[in-house]
Symmetry: C2
Subunit: 212 residues, 2 copies
Amino acid sequence: MARQERAIRTRRAILEAASVLFNEVGYEATTIGALLERIDLTRGGLYFHFTTKEQLARAVLDEAVTLEGVRPQAFKLQEWVDIALLLAHRVPREPLLRASIRLSVDPLSRALFGTRWPDWVAVGESLLVEAQEKGELLPHVDPAETARLLVGAWTGVQLVTEVLPGRTLSEEISSLFALILPNVASSGVLARLDTSPYRAERLLKEARSQAD
Amino acid sequence: MARQERAIRTRRAILEAASVLFNEVGYEATTIGALLERIDLTRGGLYFHFTTKEQLARAVLDEAVTLEGVRPQAFKLQEWVDIALLLAHRVPREPLLRASIRLSVDPLSRALFGTRWPDWVAVGESLLVEAQEKGELLPHVDPAETARLLVGAWTGVQLVTEVLPGRTLSEEISSLFALILPNVASSGVLARLDTSPYRAERLLKEARSQAD
């Protein structure tokens, strides 16, 4: 394995171990010492990549706005849906993404690092503006407002689904779209959108098999 | 002032001071010592009401499921809307309600005390079942699912609105209903629902002037 590739893998392993800690004990209680107990690295090896907890948190947040698995679709609205479905599939499976939510929700770390919610709103708004230009939206829809509400609703549904038993996040986000899309998509488009809770897994497999 | 009434007011003042602390520094960093610095009470005076931080957090959560200002309406759906609008008006103004959200969102305190989300889902579901029996809902609506999604969406919109500038929580929750109600309310009912961001202030004034 080339030196650079090894460094990338090590960096990723560090970020994932730090994410598990952030998720388990929170930002405040996470320490570099506890991180070193969980990874197969010396302090010097770690410091080659990160020297402070702050750097780790910022790096986790930098990886949070991910479009992995999203591909061009006939409808821009479908891409907007896909982003939310993909995250719903990945967040329960990827500690790093969960950590980025936790860092955003925790007022202490939020005060230090901000959140990625404005970035997500911008991604959604830009897709909805394109959808509007292509005539996919009902006339009254405000792309900025709808993008903002979806980021909020997605975030809260994720939190509440962690607590309430019986439904996966993918199922809940799929239901969320069934609730709001009839008031967003023009009728010709609505019938052709796929909001299945199983869609994300398929998209991700396709993307990852192409990457291999 | 009667002795009992004074005790009730003191208890309330303690809970509000504790809520301000929970909001500012979080549950973990809150101490009885810091609380005593903020209230005009001796340690003995405090211990008459609460002896531990855990008791304070539980009492804050016990006050979180509040229906103040909600009154019987011609449509049960309007009462469901009113609960959400009233909370949207009150949460930015009442530290105790904000603290209950913070305690629910923080994984450490959540692990100790649980959340009130299941209670809110039960309140909403029961209203939506009544609305369904009265023919106020579109045929496909599932009261349990819709109640759950609204609690999630409300919670996340509150979190994200704290971060994004320019819109009040009342405005955002009003927009959230404008987004989802057309797919929930039967058409005759939809046109007669009031989702104005100013509705809650009026309801609350009426309720409080009657209470005086």
